[in-house]
Every structure is written in structure tokens, then in C-alpha cells.
Point group: C2
């Protein structure tokens, strides 16, 4: 039987067990469960999928365990630069912010971009100007830099370039959520601090509609995590949606094919969570782990990595 | 019989005739022809599709008639902010730059990002830092602001918001090229100054892989122009490639379906140029005009709008 659910979230694909051991993994799963419970409460009172993914992703951003919002990794210059996007499956409405700093919850800013219904994507200082004009409080540049990230940054700087790349590749901590509400509407959101030690100004797949995020009521909602450039080159979230649109696949088969396509065409590593229009859902990844969890249609919460 | 060609370029979809009259249109077509001739000379000596699209787009950027590179429109703050991307159909290699200034040829910088084979997209000051480290000469902020654009900006500022939006919507001048070389390799590139009067930091579809540009030897090469946000929400270039991949359509049918999908789902306006893996090509648009031209497989040059 295919798995059905109303909400699925992830906290990044990578090598969680290697980095933190089983004990560390438990902390991640505890956070995932707590956030799913919050999403469940919104769904229970009939809240829209768009609110659910925004809330869940902003909670993931607030938890310094994950590489998004608070807890974002540092780029080559020791600075935070975050990307996020949100998409509404009802009308393909989309909002994204890229290469931003000083914002506590990038996904909330992306939601404001979506709500403005003019731009889809705002970056850098222009995005901050928009935030200020929308009344969003700017936090200090240090707000989301945790001690762990500073230590990691120092460690990363000391490594050879080759080792640094392996290190960065091992720990994708991008977060995301996909939901299907009681009206059958779909939504997706993704948020990230990017790759540790990334080049200044580098934008990954998370804020790119069709790469790291996608939602269309006619097909599915997708959120991706992994080596962003590979997801951008394959436009993977849209690829999965088109497999459903043009080949009539379900979420599980489309997600499996999608990850196989990612590996085959660009040797990409990462994972996706998908809910299709009928509420069938799937989590697929070719990294060792992907922290994730879901709320099944009977109201039970499941967590895995 | 389906149209076959080796190179197709465009200089934007919009209301060219309304803005410039038939006499103005002739200037555009003359430029298109000259640039196709240059592309032809590269193809004749066996040059790769990637070089052809880079060269053609950089020439379109250099011509102040078009809204890209020199001749870019000004944003809400009276500044230039350009986006560009290039993609290699052989291996899905891609490079993009967004929200940049002080670069004479954004498409060439995008090609350097592609060649670096690490990031896909660099934005803002980070992209400039990359340019400097790659030895790209920065031009003065004023280099690409023409008198026409300054006048237009002043005019735009004087209009009501509603009229300003109509004005901006009428004159998409994004440029792009798609090519198929003697080895059957495909490539695509797109470059733009964006929408006149756009918000600071706004990134459109041109630098988004899958939205305003896409190339895959297994399917097709696409470059788009029009109301960027609509192309981003529909991920239109990838949508067209997937119509070819999953439904086995030719370029003409896929382009027609693509523009119809754009209109139907998000009421989008604009156009695309497409060459498929067999060299069949198509230009489709639902604006009044789209300046474009192509080099057919017999070596004849055609221009149209």
C-alpha cells in the first residue's frame, strides 16, 4: 500500500549519523516530532497548507540544530547568507529570497514576497530593503551564528580545499516542508544557510522555483535537499512534478525516478520529500541519511533518518 | 515541413512596433542579421554551440538597442541590475549571474561561472568579487546607461503606478540564443536588464536554469523572454524540455504547448525560441512581437518580429 500523509518535513540530507552519532540523531528527531505536532494542530483546525509549510519551516529555521535561519553555516568570508522559497499549489504563486542576512526567518520573508504578488525573487540588499518596508525587524548580523558554526568555520578554514569540499558535502542541513490540507491544496517551502564555506554570493537550489521547491495542485509538492548545484542543473523538483503530470506516476515512483535521474545525469547526491495531489507521499535520498518525518492521514507522527 | 536550423536568437518579446514603428523595427532586424552572420562564421569553422550562444548574446548585450548589457533598463532606484545565464546541453553544465552591475558582458561572466564547475549561480557583490578574481575588468557604473534609458526612466517615474506597470510590461527586451553545432551539441543563453523600474534586488527568469534558459542534448535548448515572474512560476523552459522528453514532441509543438501552458496557468505573456535535438526549431510568442532570427540548415539567414 502506498503511504498517505498530510504533512512531511525534512532537516537535510547528509551523513547525520557520522557527524553526530545515534545520540545526536535523537535530538534531531525530537525536534522533527515537535514541529510536526505544531503542523498537525494547524491542519486540524482546517488551516491552509501554505500556513503549515511556512510555520514548520520557520520552526526549523529557529532550531539551531539545522542549517537554516538560526544555525546557518558560514560562507567563505565567515558570514551568513541564507536562501528560502515558498510556493502555493493553488495558483503557482511563489516567493523567494536569496543571499540574505539579518532576517530571523527567511521563509516568512519569502511568504511576504509571495503575498506581494509582483516579484517572485528578491536578493541581497534589495531583499533587505523590501523587508524593512514590509515592517520586518532586522536582527543583528550575529543573531544566527551559533558557537558550533563558528567552530566549524574555523575547522573548515584549516582543512585543505579537497577535505573542505568533502566536509561541506557531508552536511547538507537544508530544511523543508510539503503539505496537503483538508481542501486538497498543496504547498511547499525550503530554507537553507547553503553549503559551509560557500563562495560569497552563491545561490543554491533552495530559493529556485523548480529546483529546490515546487508545488502545483495538479501534480505535487516537493522540497529538496543536497548538493544544490546538481538540483539546479536538473531542475529536479519540476522534473518530479512533470513525471507526475506527463507519466501519471504517484509520489513514490516519481521521487524514486527523480533521485535516480539526479544520480544518472549529474552524479548528484541528496534527497526529496514529495506529496502528490492524492496525498500519497514519499521521502527518497541517496545520501546515507535524510532527517525527516511525516504525519499520516490517520494522524500518526513518524520520524526517520 | 518542420523548420530546421542551427542557430536562433531573439531580442525580446513585447510591443516593438508600437514603441518604435516599422522604421525602428528595421534597426533591430539589421542588428539581428549581423549577429546571426557572426554566429554562422563560428559554426562554419566547426565551433561549439556553447561558444556560439555566448558570442551572439554578448553582441546583443553590446548593442544598446536591446535591454541587456549596454542598454539595460534602470530599476526603481535608477540603477542597472543585470541577470544572465548560459547552459551546456552536453552535461547540463550551467552558469548564472544575477543582480549585477559594472560588468560589460554578463553572459561572459556566466560562462566563467560555468567553467569554474563549482557554483551555478552567483549574485550581487559576491558575483563582482568572483569577476575581479577571474580578471574580468569592471566598467564604470554608467557604462551601460544610455541616454534613451535615462529619458525612459524619467518618464517612467512620472507615470502613475498602473501606467508604469503597463509601460514596463510592453517592453521586454531580454536577449537570448539557442544553437546546435555540427556535433549535435545544444546550448542556450539568456541575458537581460530586467523590467524597467523593477524593485531593487529583483531577480527575473533569465538567470534561472529551467525558467528563462535550458539546454539538454537529449531534448532541446530554450531561451525565453517576457514577464519573468510567470516563466519562473511555470518553470517554462524545463516544462518545454519535459514535453519533449516525456511526450516525444518536436520543438514546434513543444513551444506551442509551452506558451499555451504559460497563458492558461498564470496568464503569462512572452515568447520562447527552441531548437530540439534533431535541429528542428521554433519561435513562439503571445505578445504582439518578438524580434528574432534564425540560421537555417542550408545557411540562409531569416529575421522576423
Amino acid at each position: 500500500m502506498k503511504k498517505h500523509c498530510t504533512l512531511m518535513i525534512h532537516g537535510g540530507a547528509g551523513e547525520l549519523d557520522k557527524l553526530h552519532g545515534p545520540a545526536g540523531a535523537v535530538r534531531y528527531l525530537r525536534s522533527i516530532r515537535r514541529i510536526l505536532e505544531r503542523g498537525q494542530s494547524i491542519l486540524k483546525r482546517g488551516g491552509p497548507a501554505l500556513d503549515v509549510v511556512e510555520t514548520c519551516v520557520s520552526m526549523l529555521e529557529d532550531d539551531p540544530l539545522f542549517n537554516a535561519g538560526r544555525g546557518s553555516v558560514l560562507n567563505e568570508r565567515g558570514m551568513v547568507s541564507m536562501d528560502a522559497a515558498i510556493m502555493d499549489g493553488r495558483d503557482l504563486g511563489a516567493g523567494a529570497v536569496a543571499d540574505i542576512n539579518r532576517i530571523a526567518n527567511p521563509v516568512k520573508l519569502a511568504r511576504l514576497v509571495l503575498a506581494g504578488n509582483k516579484q517572485v525573487m528578491l536578493a541581497g540588499t534589495g531583499a533587505l530593503r523590501f523587508a524593512r518596508s514590509a515592517g520586518v525587524r532586522l536582527v543583528s548580523g550575529d543573531y544566527r551564528i551559533t558557537e558550533e558554526r563558528r567552530d566549524e568555520y574555523k575547522k573548515l578554514r584549516a582543512l585543505s580545499q579537497r577535505k573542505a569540499e568533502t566536509f561541506s558535502a557531508d552536511q547538507h542541513g537544508t530544511v523543508g516542508a510539503v503539505a496537503r490540507d483538508s481542501k486538497g491544496n498543496l504547498a511547499a517551502a525550503t530554507s537553507t544557510g547553503g553549503m559551509a564555506g560557500k563562495k560569497e554570493g552563491r545561490i543554491g537550489d533552495s530559493p529556485i522555483i523548480g529546483a529546490g521547491v515546487y508545488a502545483d495542485n495538479r501534480t505535487c509538492a516537493v522540497s529538496a535537499t543536497g548538493h544544490g548545484e546538481k538540483f539546479m542543473r536538473t531542475v529536479l523538483a519540476k522534473h518530479i512534478a512533470d513525471l507526475i503530470a506527463f507519466r501519471n506516476l504517484d509520489a513514490e515512483t516519481a521521487a524514486t525516478y527523480g533521485i535516480s535521474y539526479l544520480k544518472r545525469t549529474v552524479n548528484g547526491r541528496g534527497g526529496v520529500i514529495v506529496i502528490d495531489r492524492k496525498g500519497r507521499c514519499a521521502a527518497r535520498f541517496n545520501t546515507r541519511t535524510m532527517v525527516h518525518g511525516w504525519l499520516d492521514r490517520d494522524g500518526n507522527i513518524h520520524c526517520a533518518y
